[in-house]
């Protein structure tokens, strides 16, 4: 009889605990799996250092090279728009900050809700654009597997349900808020076992790239 409130409490309670546990355990497993494969000690005389260039590449890879940007601007712009929309919505919406504060014990200032709202809309539009691009661009089409659509959906649902919940477009509110939280939990649960892991591993990947090239005296 109390479906939507029970659902919300379940989503905010047991389900959240389970999802967070799977997320944390999964991410740690995945990172261990990667690092445990090791990297052979390089015996060649280095021409440059590894650490600094690796760190530098972590930053510099955020910007595209002009040539590939000109060839595929939508990948870059769509990617930026949806990532920024997503990150602003995730990290600068005050209710979310409260959650982080409760989890980690520290917080940061948020943005006024209308700005976050706009960012969420951009995020949604960006995601729709990259989906369209994935469905039409020949290169992306050949690379795309079911998992790519799955991770798209996992990313899209929290934004969509969050938007609906914020604007109270679905009644009753506990139901849509519960759906929003559930969609995030779905994301958390599948995160470690899908390409969503790039969120963390891209730092490793960029570092390795920068370090291996840096050792040869090349800024990558």
């Amino acid at each position: 009889m109390n479906e939507s409130m029970d659902f919300l409490l379940w989503a905010r309670g047991t389900a959240f605990d389970v999802a967070v546990a799977i997320f944390v355990i999964g991410v740690i497993i995945r990172l261990f799996e990667i690092v445990s494969l090791g990297r052979a000690n390089n015996l060649a005389e280095p021409k440059g250092s590894e650490f600094g260039p690796g760190m530098k590449t972590i930053v510099t890879r955020t910007l595209p090279e002009a040539g590939v940007f000109k060839r595929q601007p939508l990948t870059v712009i769509g990617g930026y728009v949806f990532h920024f929309g997503l990150l602003i919505s995730l990290f600068l919406f005050i209710p979310h900050i409260e959650l982080f504060a409760a989890t980690f014990g520290f917080s940061w200032p948020g943005l006024p809700n209308p700005i976050v709202d706009a960012a969420a809309v951009l995020g949604i539009v960006g995601l729709l654009a990259v989906l369209w691009h994935r469905l039409t661009n020949p290169v992306m089409k050949i690379l795309t597997e079911k998992e790519d659509y799955l991770v798209w959906l996992l990313t899209f649902l929290p934004l969509l349900t969050g938007y609906l919940a914020y604007h109270r477009l679905v009644n009753p509110y506990p139901f849509i808020l519960g759906l929003h939280i559930l969609s995030v939990e779905l994301l958390l649960v599948l995160f470690p076992f899908t390409k969503l892991m790039h969120t963390f591993t891209l730092f490793l990947a960029r570092w390795y790239n920068g370090a291996m090239n840096g050792r040869r005296g090349v800024e990558s």
Binding site: M1, N2, E3, S4, M5, D6, L8, L9, R12, G13, T14, F16, D17, V20, A21, I22, F23, V24, I25, G26, V27, I28, I29, L31, F32, E33, V35, S36, L37, G38, I94, P95, H96, E98, L99, A102, T103, F104, G105, G110, L111, P112, N113, P114, I115, V116, R168, P172, Y173, P174, L177, I181
Partner: protein, 365 residues
């Protein structure tokens, strides 16, 4: 003097010196409360005027008397209280003078005399864990409820305990408390939730019943839509601050003094459906958010278990940081195992390396 049971509401009100004008004013307020158009006011007035005095049996189970306190004492001598005066409260064991067998006899008499027509008001939850947890005159609440409801026209579950189980049902629910709706399935049950509920909402429900002879339209929780159709958040006068991102961080900071949004201080307004923001309390004096405290969500099911009162709604119910640290510890253990598997697999591959020479670069066959 006519039998009070047959006297109409109009008569009772007039006897108490309520003018026609005052009565119409009350009808207008009631109609607007029930979200009826102004054109309905005369109809409401006519219906209420002629409404006969229904017999009401008030059962108190696992409750704190807060609902009764709220409903009975706070309005005197308002019109709402007259509504209560008007009903024939044939049994209310907190209020009635009679006790023991005499009281139970009054209840039984009322049930017989008004079979099929009386209203049962319940406050408090019903323990199913052990019937002995809560009894009246040695009779378990469950039995009392079932007996009393059998001949009733409808049941009004007053307060969150009766409506949703309330505090007794809060984790770990030691008495196995349940709500009225969990037991009564064959009679209309109207939930008037709140801890306590707004008195005006009770009178509104009664007024509706008296006016139309039917029960109001209910939401998915069995609550009258008229009162529970909009969330606190949607009607909150502090809502513009939420939209602008202006929040009080503590109860005594500048934001609090300026009346900014109380979301961060745990206000459950966004998920709570009730009429507090419009009906207010204590004769329209104020309501929790106006007094500087966030909504507790008291009219919602399981609100006691919905996380700390002072935790923002977005904060999960459980202790996330504890979950995260346990998971991290478990992750380190499982991760180390996974790492071990990978190192072993790779070492095995190295061991199985078959040296490649230029003579075996081509497939045989």
């Amino acid at each position: 003097m006519a039998d009070p049971r047959t006297k109409t509401l109009g008569e009772t009100l007039r006897r108490h010196g309520v003018s026609r004008r005052g009565f119409l004013k009350f009808c207008t307020a009631t109609a607007s409360m029930m979200a009826l158009p102004p054109s309905m006011v005369p109809a409401v007035a006519a219906a209420l005027d002629k409404a006969s005095r229904p017999s009401v049996i008030w059962l108190s189970f696992q409750e704190c008397t807060g609902c009764t306190e709220s409903l009975t004492r706070s309005h005197s001598p308002t019109l709402e209280s007259l509504i209560f005066d008007h009903i024939s409260l044939d049994y209310h064991h907190t209020l009635q003078v009679a006790s023991g067998h005499a009281a139970e006899k009054a209840r039984e008499e009322a049930m017989h005399a008004n079979h099929g027509n009386y209203l049962v008001v319940v406050d408090g939850s019903i323990p199913l864990g052990n019937p002995g947890y809560s009894t009246t005159a040695g009779v378990s609440n469950l039995q009392t409820l079932e007996e009393t409801v059998a001949g009733a026209a409808a049941v009004i579950a007053v307060g969150t305990c009766a409506a949703f189980g309330g505090l007794p049902k809060a984790y770990p629910n030691p008495t196995g408390a349940v709500a009225v709706r969990d037991i009564v399935h064959d009679k209309p049950v109207i939930n008037v939730s709140g801890c306590p509920p707004i008195p005006m909402v009770i009178t509104g429900v009664l007024a509706h019943y008296l006016t139309f002879g039917t029960l109001p339209q209910l939401d998915q929780y069995g609550r009258p839509m008229n009162f529970y159709g909009t969330s606190i958040h949607d009607r909150c006068y502090r809502r513009p601050f939420y939209d602008k991102g202006l929040f009080a961080d503590t109860f005594d900071d500048e934001g609090a003094r300026k009346g900014w949004c109380l979301y961060k201080l745990g206000c459950k307004g966004p998920m709570t459906y009730n009429a507090c923001a419009t009906a207010k309390w204590n004769e329209g004096t104020s309501w929790p958010v106006e007094s500087g405290h966030g909504c507790l969500g008291c009219s919602e099911p399981n609100f006691w278990d919905a996380g700390g009162f002072y935790n923002a709604l977005s904060i999960p119910v459980g202790e996330v940081s504890r979950s995260v640290s346990y998971a991290a510890a478990a992750g380190l253990a499982v991760g180390a195992a996974a790492a071990g598997l990978n190192s072993r697999a790779k070492a095995k591959a190295k061991k199985n390396h078959g040296t490649v020479t230029v003579d075996d670069l081509e497939k045989k066959s």
